[in-house]
C-alpha cells in the first residue's frame, strides 16, 4: 500500500464533492428531480482498492466533509459512508463474479448509504421522511450511481495504479 494511493483516493472523493455541489443537484443537473451521489460512489470504488484502515479513514473524512459543506448535522454522512466502506471491504472479493454482480452490489451499497443517512438523519431530527418523495431520493441517486460507475471505475482503476482489488486476509 503506497501513501500515494491514499492521497489519490482522498483527492478523488474531494473532487467528487466539488462536482457534487457545483454540477449536480437542485438548480443544476438533476434528471427526474434527482442526481447521483458522487462522493458515496467514489468511497465505494476507492474502498475496493485500498487497505481496510485507509479505506475506512478516507470514507470517514469524505463523509465529514460532505456534512460540513452540506446543511445536515455533522457526522451523519460520516456514519453512512463508514458503514458503506466497511461493507464494501467485506464483500469486495465478489468483484470477480462479473459486471452484473458489481452493478447489483453498487446499487445495494448506494441504497444502503442513502438509507442509513435518512434513518440517522431522522434520529437526529432532520425530518428526511417528511419529504413525500423520500424513497425516490434514495433509489434514483443509487441508479444514477450505477450508470456513472461504468465511467468512473476505469478512471479510478487507472489512477489507483490499475492493481488488483485488495482482499482482507
Amino acid at each position: 500500500m503506497s501513501g500515494k494511493q491514499i492521497i489519490y483516493a482522498l483527492l478523488l472523493t474531494l473532487g467528487g464533492l466539488v462536482l457534487q455541489t457545483t454540477l449536480f443537484g437542485e438548480s443544476r443537473i438533476e434528471p427526474f428531480g434527482s442526481s447521483p451521489n458522487l462522493v458515496l460512489l467514489l468511497v465505494v470504488i476507492c474502498a475496493a482498492y485500498l487497505e481496510p484502515e485507509p479505506a475506512l479513514l478516507v470514507a470517514f473524512t469524505s463523509g465529514l466533509l460532505t456534512d460540513l459543506l452540506g446543511g445536515s448535522v455533522i457526522g451523519l454522512w460520516a456514519i453512512s459512508m463508514v458503514v458503506v466502506a466497511y461493507i464494501t471491504l467485506r464483500v469486495r472479493r465478489r468483484i470477480d463474479d462479473g459486471v452484473i454482480v458489481v452493478a447489483a452490489g453498487l446499487l445495494a451499497l448506494s441504497v444502503l448509504g442513502q438509507a442509513i443517512f435518512a434513518i440517522a438523519g431522522t434520529l437526529f431530527g432532520q425530518q428526511v421522511f417528511a419529504d413525500p418523495g423520500w424513497y425516490r431520493q434514495i433509489v434514483l441517486p443509487s441508479l444514477y450511481n450505477v450508470v456513472i460507475a461504468a465511467l468512473l471505475i476505469p478512471i479510478v482503476s487507472k489512477i489507483m495504479g490499475g492493481r488488483q482489488v485488495r482482499r482482507l486476509v
Binding site: V18, L19, Q20, T21, T22, L23, F24, E26, S27, R28, I29, S34, N37, V39, P52, E53, L56, L57, F60, G63, L64, L65, T66, L68, L69, G70, G71, S72, V73, I74, G75, L76, W77, A78, I79, V82, V83, Y86, R90, V91, R92, R93, Q114, F117, A118, G121, F124, G125, Q126, Q127, A130, D131, P132, G133, Q137, L140, P141, R167, L168, V169
Partner: protein, 296 residues
C-alpha cells in the same frame, strides 16, 4: 463474503469511527449549530469555496447546455413547425440562452424593491447541497457584506429562504422547502394566519391556525413576520381546503419561487427577526409592516 475476524484492526477502527461520528452528531445537535461545529463549517467553507466558485465557472456552461437540451426536448411537439428554424439557430442559442437568462434574472432582481424599502444586497448562488436530502444554497456574500444569520432571502418571484450560517464572505441559505424550515404566513384573502412547512421535493404544506375559515385555491400567501421579513409572497394555495372535523386545516401551497432555477437572490439585510436582533429597547420606533401590494 470475506472471512470475519472478531475485532480485527479494521473492525475496531470501524466501531471507533462510528462512535466518533455519533458523538460528533450529538454534539452538533446539542450545540444547535454553534460552537465547534460552526468553526469547522467555517474553516471547511473557507477552504472549499474558492475551488467551488472556480468549478462553478466551468460547470455553469455544462448545466446551461443540459438545461437547454431538456427544454428543447420538452417543447418539441408544441414547436414542431419551428423545428427547422430551431436547428439553424440551435448552436447559437445554446451558447447565448444561458448567459441571457442570467442577465435578465440579474436585471430583474436588481430592479426588485424589497418590502418596506428594506436594505438588501444581491448575491449569486455558487454551490448547492451535498446530497438529495439537502435543501440549501451557498451564496457569495457574507458578514463583510452585512449578511448575517437570520436574514431573509428573496428573488424576483418571492421568498427563497433564510440565512442560517454565515462566514465573512459566504453564507448558507436554508430554503423554505427544507422540512426543518417553518414560515409564519398570512392568507391575504381571509387575513388568517398559519404556518408553511417545507416537504423537501414535495409542495409546501400550509397549516392554518384557525380551522374555521376555509382556504381557496389561488389565495395568495405572504410572510407574516416573525422569522421572515413580513409581506413577502411565499406562494399560492394549490388545493382548496376546509377543516376536517374542526380540528385542523392543512393544504398545499405552490411556492412562488422555482427552486430549481434560482441563480441570483437578494438578501434583506435591513430586517432581522427579534431572536437575532434582541428585544426592542424603550423608545425604539415600532416598525410598520409593509403593504404587500405596494408596487404591484
Amino acid at each position: 463474503m470475506e472471512p470475519f475476524r472478531r475485532f480485527d484492526r479494521s473492525t475496531s477502527l470501524f466501531i471507533g469511527l462510528l462512535i466518533v461520528s455519533f458523538l460528533t452528531a450529538t454534539i452538533d445537535v446539542r450545540s444547535q449549530g454553534a460552537g465547534i461545529g460552526d468553526t469547522l463549517r467555517e474553516g471547511t467553507q473557507s477552504l472549499f469555496a474558492p475551488v467551488q466558485q472556480a468549478a462553478s465557472v466551468v460547470t455553469r456552461p455544462i448545466v446551461g447546455f443540459v438545461d437547454g437540451i431538456s427544454n428543447i426536448a420538452g417543447l418539441r411537439d408544441e414547436n414542431e413547425r419551428l423545428v427547422n428554424r430551431i436547428k439553424e439557430l440551435e448552436a447559437q442559442v445554446q451558447d447565448v440562452v444561458g448567459l441571457q437568462n442570467r442577465l435578465e434574472e440579474l436585471e430583474r432582481i436588481n430592479d426588485l424593491d424589497p418590502p418596506g424599502d428594506l436594505a438588501a444586497v444581491t448575491a449569486r448562488i455558487f454551490s448547492v447541497g451535498t446530497s438529495e436530502f439537502d435543501h440549501i444554497r451557498w451564496i457569495d456574500r457574507g458578514t463583510d457584506d452585512g449578511v448575517v444569520e437570520g436574514h431573509t432571502v428573496i428573488d424576483e418571484d418571492g421568498l427563497v429562504g433564510r440565512v442560517d450560517f454565515a462566514t465573512e464572505s459566504r453564507a448558507r441559505v436554508r430554503l423554505i422547502s427544507d422540512p426543518n424550515n417553518g414560515v409564519g404566513v398570512r392568507d391575504l384573502s381571509t387575513n388568517e394566519t398559519g404556518i408553511v412547512e417545507g416537504q423537501g421535493s414535495g409542495p409546501l404544506r400550509l397549516r392554518m391556525f384557525n380551522p374555521e375559515l376555509s382556504v381557496d385555491e389561488g389565495d395568495l400567501i405572504v410572510t407574516e413576520g416573525g422569522r421572515f421579513a413580513p409581506g413577502i409572497v411565499v406562494g399560492s394555495v394549490a388545493v382548496s381546503a376546509t377543516a376536517e372535523a374542526g380540528f385542523s386545516l392543512i393544504t398545499e401551497v405552490t411556492a412562488a419561487v422555482d427552486f430549481t432555477r434560482i441563480d441570483f437572490v437578494k438578501v434583506i439585510v435591513g430586517w432581522l427577526p427579534s431572536e437575532f436582533s434582541g428585544p426592542p429597547e424603550p423608545g425604539d420606533p415600532i416598525p410598520d409592516a409593509p403593504d404587500p401590494f405596494e408596487g404591484n
